[in-house]
């Protein structure tokens, strides 16, 4: 009796284990199903390279190129700010800070990771956006630049936490070896620890990029939502995520515009899949 009960429980546990695979596959299938419906009506090449996104005009055009540029511009800008600061902070937290400072800093980073993105968006709207408008004397502060700054804060916890793990997992004897040869602690950190932790740091950056490309609410609130190809980092942009979020509420279900937004979702899914795959590869290398 007990044995059958245990077997049943173990079968349930096995099913829970395989559920993740089923979910990933079904997300992909649902995105693909609607996207294929779209590509039957609209040329896939025109979709990817098209420069105009006019879903509501008489002859609608669905070119996602400006949105791809928008997403990458914001992501790239945020990375330039967040990666150096984040990796340096991870070095400080892991290697230099005394134990109690280390604990406090780790708690603060964890706290930052849970600030909701709408709250970050709100703060961006009332601080960075007016500042950028006045400081650079441009017509609107809702720009890719403003978005990059706020997103840099948002992605910081991801980069710090994962880099810190990687730095922390470098064996102690490496540092001791360097110190025994007369190197200063900083030389040991820079020449040995940083080099050994490199795969983990790359993974941290990749995971950060994945989060940045997928970020929706804050981006929608700060970057201005203009679906044209941005001239510079001080132009308003529209990301792929913001397009889906802003337009899905207004479309007629199952028409071409609805399917087009699923196709944008498919593009996002494929990009983040690749980015996460690379991150996972480097994380595996770190062990």
């Amino acid at each position: 009796m007990k044995k059958t009960k245990n077997t049943i429980i173990e079968i349930i546990i096995f099913m829970c284990g395989t559920l993740s695979v089923i979910f990933v596959v079904s997300i992909f299938i649902f995105l693909l199903k609607e996207s294929l419906g779209f590509f039957r009506e609209y040329n896939i090449l025109k979709f990817i390279t098209g420069r105009n996104w006019y879903p509501d005009s008489n002859e609608p055009s669905f070119g996602i190129f400006p949105m791809v540029i928008g997403s990458f511009l914001v992501t790239f800008g945020a990375c330039i700010i967040a990666v150096p600061i984040g990796v340096m902070a991870a070095l400080y937290i892991s290697e230099i800070a005394p134990k109690y400072v280390h604990d406090i800093l780790k708690f603060l980073v964890e706290l930052m990771a849970t600030i909701p993105s709408v709250v970050i968006g709100l703060i961006g709207m009332c601080t960075i956006v007016p500042f950028v408008k006045n400081f650079f004397n441009i017509p609107t502060g809702l720009t890719a630049f403003s978005g990059s700054i706020m997103l840099a804060f948002m992605v910081m916890p991801t980069i710090v936490t994962i880099s810190e793990d990687a730095i922390h997992s470098v064996p102690w004897k490496y540092r001791e070896g360097a110190l025994a040869l007369g190197a200063t602690k900083w030389q040991a950190i820079r020449r040995i620890v940083l080099k050994e932790a490199r795969p983990g740091i790359i993974a941290a950056i990749m995971l950060g990029i994945g989060r940045l490309i997928g970020e929706t609410m804050a981006v929608m609130m700060i970057t201005g939502n203009s679906a044209s190809i941005p001239k510079s980092i001080f132009s308003p942009v529209r990301t792929m995520t913001a397009t889906i979020a802003a337009e899905m509420g207004e479309v007629v279900k199952c028409d071409i515009h609805y399917k087009a937004l699923f196709a944008v979702g498919l593009v996002l899914f494929i990009i983040t899949f690749i980015v996460n795959f690379i991150a996972d590869f480097f994380l595996g290398k770190n062990k």
């Binding site: 546990i13 993740s20 937290i93 709250v119 996002l268």
Partner: protein
């Protein structure tokens, strides 16, 4: 280029690293303190928390949004926690190193990386349209559960992993079955770690907006939800629309909503840290 002495270059580098750390942490603290400073008056405005919104949300309170957020959190955890722990037990205690296990691990990594708005599309496609649940609490909760699953699996798994292997061997060598070993030895020792993970996912769920945009939320409802097939108002979405779509709304109302949302998130963080400190003290190994 001047060659600095190793000592001096160490000092300068440490200073730079310290400054970078300040730069990384301070904006987050600044965001939190701005919201607290501008929104704290809500504590003295009981009406704001307990009344329905009226007059196109320009007056009244945010009661239905608070209830909606709490409802979504509770039902989502209720659904995703057992499945997540089950999956973690499978991966840590039963799974052999084979193709299926590698596929499961890769799937978890990718589920965790799928953008939240894509979960929104998925929820719209499968729960709202295909299963015909409509825009409803249940559709939103199912979407959130799929999204939280990888987080719960990962944190539960590392909690299970931290239970020393010796515990299992001692139990198994006494002739206790595998499942009973997990039930009586491994799980009780892993509970603090699992709990911390759950509480941090609650903080995350409270702030999620994108996956719920087309699956659960209502711009405005004049009543509380009657069943799981109703739409709901939630705090983060309410914050978003009041901040961007209603031009002549009082700034203090927006910040009060943000304050409530942030309070839920901060409370969860503090509970998590208290659990962690408490159990670390009482740990037997």
């Amino acid at each position: 280029m001047i060659k600095l002495s190793p000592r001096l270059s160490q000092k300068i580098s440490y200073l730079l690293l310290f400054l970078a750390t300040v730069l990384a942490i301070v904006p987050g603290l600044l965001i939190i303190s701005i919201i607290i400073a501008k929104g704290k008056d809500v504590f003295f405005a009981w009406d704001f928390l307990t009344l329905m919104p009226i007059n196109g949300m320009l007056d009244g309170g945010i009661f239905p949004a608070i209830i909606g957020t709490l409802l979504l959190i509770i039902i989502t955890i209720f659904l995703s926690l057992p499945i997540g722990i089950g999956a973690a037990i499978y991966l840590n205690e039963y799974a052999k190193d084979n193709l299926l296990t590698r596929m499961i691990k890769l799937s978890i990594v990718n589920l965790a990386g799928v953008p939240s708005i894509v979960y929104g599309l998925f929820g719209l496609g499968i729960f709202v349209m295909y299963l015909k649940l409509g825009v409803s609490i249940i559709a939103g909760v199912l979407t959130l559960s799929v999204m939280e699953l990888p987080v719960i699996i990962t944190t539960s798994r590392s909690a299970l992993k931290s239970v020393p292997y010796l515990f299992r061997e001692a139990s198994l060598s006494l002739g206790v079955s595998r499942w009973d070993t997990i039930k009586y030895i491994v799980l009780p020792n892993a509970i603090p770690g699992i709990l911390t993970g759950v509480i941090l996912s609650i903080a995350r769920i409270a702030g999620e907006t994108a996956p719920l945009l087309f699956t659960a939320v209502a711009f405005y409802t004049p009543y509380l939800p009657h069943s799981i097939y109703d739409q709901v108002m939630i705090l983060p979405y309410h914050l978003y629309i009041t901040a961007t779509q209603i031009p002549n709304i009082g700034k203090d109302r927006i910040f009060a909503t943000a304050f409530m949302l942030l309070m839920i998130v901060l409370t969860m963080n503090f509970i998590a840290i208290i659990i962690r400190i408490y159990f670390r003290k009482n740990r037997k190994w």
